[in-house]
Amino acid sequence: MSQLSQRPADPVVGERHHHESAFGHVTGSALYTDDLVGRLTGVLHAYPVQSTTAHARLLSLDVEPAYAMPGVVRVITAADIPGVNDQGVKHDEPMLPTDEIMFFGQPLAWVLADDLDAAREGAAAVTAEVDELPSLVTVRDAIAAESYHGQPLHIDKGEVDAAFADAAHVFEGEFEFAGQEHFYLETQACLAHVDENGQIFVQSSTQHPTETQDIISHVLGIPAHEVTVQCLRMGGGFGGKEMQPHGYAALAALGATLTGRPVRLRLNRTLDITMTGKRHGFHSSWKIGFTDDGKILALDASLTADGGWSLDLSEPVLTRAMCHIDNAYWVPNIRVTGRIAKCNKTSQTAFRGFGGPQGMLVLEDILGRVAPQLGLSARELRRRNFYAQGQDTPYYQPVRHPERIEACWDQLIDESELEARELEIEAFNAGSDHIKRGLAITPVKFGISFNLTAFNQGGALVLVYKDGSVLVTHGGTEMGQGLHQKMLQVAATTLGVPLSTVRLAPTRTDKVPNTSATAASSGSDLNGGAVKNACDQILDRLRQVAAGILGAPAHEVDISRGIVSALSSPKTVTWEELINTAYFQRIQLSASGFYRTEGLHWNLSQMRGEPFKYFAYGAAVSEVEVNRFDGSYTLRRVDIVHDVGDSLSPLIDLGQIEGGFVQGAGWLTLEDLRWDESDRPSRGRLATQAASTYKIPSFSEAPEVFNVSLLDKAHEEGAVYGSKAVGEPPLMLAFSVREALREAVRAFGGPGRGVELASPATPEAVFWAIEDVRAEESRAAASVTEGQRVPS
């Protein structure tokens, strides 16, 4: 065990605790950014003027009519920006457009008013003179027009062409699948004011306070030390608050400096859905070769991410997609070309899994489709291709602990009684004509670390006060994932104090600087390493003090649950006594901690290196029941075995696994982004722009039976207290739902038939898949297939 991963005796990590704010959540006393508005006086409310065209030349804006509205105080346009007009880091994302409108719904100007109604009325009064330009709305449009961001990326390993020549079976196909709206329950929100010291202080619902600070700083043209960003907590983030909050925070900060009044900017749901980026939809064309016994020999695939109007995080998303196309399978010869389509839509961005799910979906879809043609069950085909010891990924990283894939798989088959249920389902289906059941098992292997090595650093500030109470601040943000709870447990474990001794302060850029986004599932690894480091520094000093009190050598000093002892000393003292003594001995009782993940390297141009510290593994079995009359289905049972290392906080991890799974199932089955692809004036408008039209899973989509186990013997050497990241990997366990649907659809036809399924597999998509299978079965295929819809 490494020093980082080794736990002391009786650690607080590993204990089952509820979320640190749980009682605040249930009573309503936990505050969110927009709950703070009433604490300030004279607050102005912001509302955008949105574009009503997908692509156009912006000739002029007439803002005067807005000032005629009672209550309107200020209209902000691009001309008001004193610094750099860019809300991103790629210099392709103007915060407010000066000449070109890039998507339907893009904010052209913002109106600040005494109340929200007045701001909205004012915004409605602003007129824009534009020259319409041709627009690209779908990824297919963009591919046809060769409209791309940046250059293609390539993975090329082994002898792909030669392998195809040797392959016993070769299949080719295309697959286009939809993106996903984050639908965090709390929409984007920020509240900016100029504080008593002349500093810009911005409360922001952001996963990346440092970058929010950076963007505010460059938009206002002032140094970072004049800007402080605080994130109390978020009502969900899921990647949607990694880059998206910056422009709004900068706008609010700009408004506060222009007017001298606090500015509140909170997007309502429709503004949020129509203006902010989403999970990328992808288009893929692929060719795959297998040996006679179903081993993958070669894969040649193109992945085109639907990037939207600006680059945003599309490059790293695409990189991760390409690095995850293998999922848990050894592909000895592989060629992948990745591109980012540029089109007139919102700028697609980070979303839990960050491209990984999209890359993996391509291969999982292939395996589900071709298994019958290989004469194998999908389960057997998957298993035959698992990574084994000594094999490496398409980007040449050795796969460490590949045996854990099989361990998850076997444990899951056992726990879920899979084989008995397969027989039950077969019997059920034989006796049921309108309702069929399907069951599928799929694996997950997900690389942990930011692909970009520099981001793999974390910071923390730990303060021990004279009374022994401890205050921890770290660079990570809390969006519901329980990071703060884990950090409390890490601090209590390292210092050897009861959990109640430690308190967490909100994330602020003036406490811990230069932080990375709380993203890539890395929050606990990076900030946990930093918190532990800060605590270790304090602890090292305290051991000397304790040694003096106890009359024992420092290395013998043990501090556990607030009791300080040493093996060779009969004395014990309390933590509070120790701290009091240390203070009078003039020992520093605070430390700033730092952590960087060791051993990473990555060459983007060659798509080669060891970008990941380790892989998280898991597997899931889902069982569905499908009704042929309308394609509707229910999720009858889900079983999961997932590898979280040695869990820091099991209840928190369980929540991440279950929640990630259901969110993934939503992406794959229910959530349906529909952009207007017609040539009407509404071209490019998102038709599903509200909760009434964009449906996320509700209670009715939750599995009726939901069993989750954590993988046994899962210690991870490379992470804090032997744990593993858990935020993103479980989302991809939901592939099992999609594959179970495929199996149920297949049951409406004869054996050995491949089934194509659109994504999302909405009831309508499932209905048409069943119709296809039934039509083929009755050899009356005429005209039914034209109903197959492949959403963009």
Binding site: H18, V26, T27, G28, G38, A118, D630, G659, A691, F706
Partner: protein, 501 residues
């Protein structure tokens, strides 16, 4: 109800036991009113009654002069409608330093992650916790489980169908719900149920709209006579009942009415009245109240109610309101058309009765005159025994239909004596599948008949493509519907696919 209308420009609401005054613009919703008073537990997630993050409990009248704690979406409810009312929010469930059992279970079982939806869940859950019938459902858990999605403690999961959570995947919330016991003997909110709910005070709330400066008016008269008098003299009045549709117009589309007439608390329009030849449903009765009071007496409606939006919506939405909007995708019309329902329209000129089949005239157009109110819905007796409500939607709970189909069929000696089929979502108005009905009536109730009528039903209506479904899918749903109905009636195993082909 008080006898006279009092002019007032301040509404008084009891919130968590403390009187709060509302004096904002009349279109202000209850959510913004509460948040403006620093009660920020209830949150805006969607502003259209879909997510439940804004849920609160209000005291509504229940049987025999008691009170039912009723969860509603505060984002849709006009703040002025709370005049004289009692509200409990998540903050108010805390008793001193003791959290409510619902809060305790949600917290310790991991029912919250980001926490933003949690106060809304807590409110919906608390209302279900206090549902008077829950103890009986717990005692008869097997029956309740079959009827609803009840846990062993009688907790009906449908009570949470209008609350969305993006973090947890719902399992810990379900476990929290099913872990709840019954209220203790000293529970003040439980005791409150035994006393009458606050009467709906007559309200005439007038206040300037801050953006336009124009005066807006929210009126809740004490009697039906006053209401129709207002409608007669001021025909541009906006009639609002449960506000589950109007609230969306206000929040999402920025609709502002200068003159709102609230009719949802008029005694004359409430209740269920039974006679020998019909059952009359008060138009201002909420769907939840109808569900409870009908208790399955109209089986087709019994099948509809659990599929109608969510409990949070059904607790506010009225049956009259669902017809008053004239929407082609409202969920009650297909069922009510199949039931041969009639509407009672009331004005200063008196009552008239209109068959629902003749009521819709075009997209959101009806025969209702501007001065008329829908006061009741009459379901003629006897009821046809074979019924079905088929709702086709992306999501099972809380979704808008792509297609909805109601069936009421009477079979005598193997012959179809009467067939009524109501359709929604396939034309600009809800409609009856008259050609199909005509084809079925007089024929034997058999698979052969079903097949003979399949294409006729598929050709009824003029479905469109939209973001909910393709026209082709909607047509396919019509095509498969009769066979599905037949299969449902016989049990799924009775029809084999060989026979179907």
């Amino acid at each position: 109800m008080s006898a006279t209308t009092t002019d007032r420009s301040i509404a008084e609401v009891s919130v968590n036991g403390e009187t709060r005054e509302f004096d904002g613009p009349p279109h202000t919703n209850a959510l913004d009113f509460l948040r403006g008073h620093g009660l920020t537990a209830a949150k805006e997630g969607c502003a259209e009654g879909e997510c439940g993050a804004c849920a609160i409990m209000i005291a509504r009248p229940d049987a025999e002069g008691t009170t039912r704690w009723t969860s509603v979406n505060s984002c849709l409810l006009p703040a002025a409608a709370l005049d004289g009312g009692e509200v409990v929010t998540a903050e108010g469930l805390v008793d001193g330093k003791t959290v409510h059992p619902v809060q305790e279970e949600m917290a310790v079982r991991g029912g919250s992650q980001c926490g933003y939806c949690t106060p809304g869940f807590v409110s919906s859950m608390a209302a279900e916790y206090y549902r008077p019938e829950r103890a009986a459902d717990a005692a008869d858990a097997d029956a309740a489980e079959a009827e609803h999605h009840c846990g062993p403690n009688g907790f009906d999961l449908h009570s949470l169908s209008g609350n969305l959570c993006r973090c947890t995947g719902y399992r810990p919330i379900r476990d929290a719900a099913f872990a709840l016991g019954q209220p203790s003997a000293d529970d003040a909110l439980a005791a409150r149920r035994e006393l009458p709910a606050p009467a709906a005070v007559a309200t005439d709330y007038q206040r300037a709209d801050t953006a336009t400066g124009r005066i807006g008016r929210y009126r809740r008269p004490a009697t039906l006579a006053e209401a129709v008098e207002i409608l007669s003299s001021e025909p541009d009045t906006t009639v609002v009942a449960g506000a589950t549709d109007w609230g969306v117009e206000v929040n999402i589309k920025g609709a502002r009415a200068e003159n709102v007439l609230a009719v949802d608390r008029l005694d004359e329009m409430r209740g269920v009245r039974r006679s020998a030849d019909h059952i009359e449903l008060g138009a201002a009765h909420t769907l939840s109240e109808l569900e409870r009071e009908l208790a399955g007496d109209i089986p087709l409606l019994g099948k509809l109610f659990p599929q109608f939006a969510s409990r949070l919506i059904r607790n506010a939405a009225t049956i009259g309101g669902n017809l008053g909007t004239g929407s082609p995708i409202g969920d009650t019309p297909p069922a009510l058309l199949a039931l041969d329902a009639e509407l009672v329209l009331t004005s200063v000129r008196g009552d008239r009765s209109v068959a629902l089949a003749d009521y819709f005239t075009g997209y959101r157009q009806t025969v209702r005159e501007a001065d008329e109110l829908i006061t009741a819905v009459r379901i003629p007796l006897p009821l046809s025994p074979l019924t079905s409500f088929q709702k086709i939607a992306k999501r099972r709970f809380d979704d808008i239909s792509s297609v909805a189909i109601g069936y009421a069929v009477d079979v005598r000696q193997g012959q179809i004596a009467k067939a009524r089929i109501g359709l929604g979502g396939v034309a600009a108005t809800p409609l009856r599948a008259r050609a199909t009905e005509a084809m079925l009536e007089g024929r034997p109730w058999s698979l052969e008949t079903v097949h003979a009528a399949t294409e006729t039903l598929a050709a009824e209506g003029t479905p469109m493509d939209d973001h909910r479904a393709s026209a082709k899918y909607r047509t396919a749903m019509l095509r498969s519907s009769l066979e599905r109905f037949y299969a449902e009636q016989l049990g799924n195993t009775a029809v084999t696919s060989q026979e179907v082909q």
